[in-house]
Symmetry: C2
Subunit: 256 residues, 2 copies
């Protein structure tokens, strides 16, 4: 049972560490294969938390909640459906979600549970899929709604810089198979209030399906789909994605 | 005027270098900011050429040739259309394009000119876009055709491991604005025979449009769209993508 994050110190140095008793204990070595705690630690409010991973790709599921599929009158898919968000779209906790230059349309939040992959993963059985999970985090799959239909492919609508806030930490202390609450508040109003019990595809099925297509690397992120309740956000809004047992990912929306 | 590639020596060491008089002169330093030639060189047939870049993302255009849009009766788009192929889909010259496990449908080649980005690129003017190009290469945007329609989003159909052969080298010795031949042969039969003169969007427009959405990093790859003539390939086929002035990217198709 462990919690990890990446951080920047007040003098601009980057580090990573494990969170123990509200302090972050800096580690050296490789984050995925052998982090070694050092004697250095910081209070959480002494450092700026960064996205806890720097994914080479984000695999984002869509149509993975029964209630949302029913609401949108979409058929339940026969296998997990996904698209790729680029690593360049990642934002850290507290970082602004920035409206793209030249885009005046709607921007929507989509609160999701994120899976952080811990080791290279290709062609794995469902029974082994959980072994490749380092832990879980919160993800906001921000979307330029007007471009989704217009472009046809969603890579641009979901791929803008800052359109994938991730954090504030990664933990292995939750069990999404047993049901974990996933929610979003905007300016403190509840907008999404889902639970992983409503997943169309369990996470072992999801990982097997994705890893049948492509190699997942340590730090790669799977955004597991959003429950119902997505709606637009505008400059000045504070969006909070929460996953029970993980924490709250808070980001301000800003104009260009 | 220069040609670069990455390679693996016969004893398994990885390196990169510049190609001079049919030999590859190994470099050290950073490939993008300051490669320094060493005294070591190899004949091209002494080493295995690898994909000349290891992109963090591949931005793949679709519907960027007038003749193909006309043939498919697709309207000419008002701006470049693209999707993301993950870096994990890259294959080197000579590497097999492998049929995904459990997929029995059609696989198609799509020969394309590739742009390799040389420095971080975001929000650039069209007049400056060419400054961010390191050089050009050949790309095969391999596609599991049956999944493209079925999934809706094309990330899986175009994102399988080995579905993005790249190479054999990067060169700045061609000028796609003036017209460069882009073709494909399968088992020595000509299947595609296009020219960048038929692009719907010139490359400065393409780069400005993509970099308005997302930061491009050194080594990122833009696949600039395929001309008409795409067709299925099967195990045993030899697919050769050629870009005039770059060379020939040759890959065998293999069953799982």
């Amino acid at each position: 049972m462990i919690q990890w994050s990446r951080f920047r110190t007040s003098d601009g140095r980057l580090g990573f560490g494990v969170i123990v008793d509200e302090r972050i204990v800096e580690c050296d070595g490789d984050f995925y294969t052998g982090p070694r705690p050092t004697a250095v630690s910081f209070a959480l409010d002494e450092v700026t938390l960064l996205s806890p991973c720097t994914p080479s790709k984000i695999v984002a599921l869509w149509n993975n909640f029964h209630a949302l599929a029913a609401k949108l009158a979409k058929p339940v898919p026969r296998h997990p459906l996904f698209l790729i968000k680029p690593g360049s779209s990642v934002a850290g906790p507290g970082e602004a979600i920035t409206r793209p230059a030249g885009y005046g349309g709607k921007i929507a939040f989509e609160g999701e549970l994120g899976i952080v992959i811990g080791k290279p993963c290709k062609d794995v059985a469902e029974s082994e899929a959980a072994d490749y999970i380092l832990g879980y985090t919160c993800v906001n799959d921000v979307t330029a709604r007007d471009l989704q239909t217009k472009d046809g492919q969603w890579s641009r609508a979901k791929g803008f810089d800052t359109f994938c806030p991730v954090g504030p930490l990664v933990t292995d202390e939750i069990d999404p198979w047993k049901g974990v609450a996933v929610g979003v508040r905007v300016n403190n109003d509840v907008r999404q209030d889902g639970n992983t019990r409503d997943f169309i595809f369990a996470l072992d099925v999801v990982i097997r399906h994705i890893a049948q297509a492509m190699t997942l690397f340590p730090g790669d992120l799977i955004a597991t789909g959003t429950p119902s309740g997505v709606s637009p956000i505008v400059a000045g809004d504070v969006v909070e994605v929460s996953v029970a047992g993980v924490g709250v990912l808070r980001n301000l929306v800003a104009d260009e």
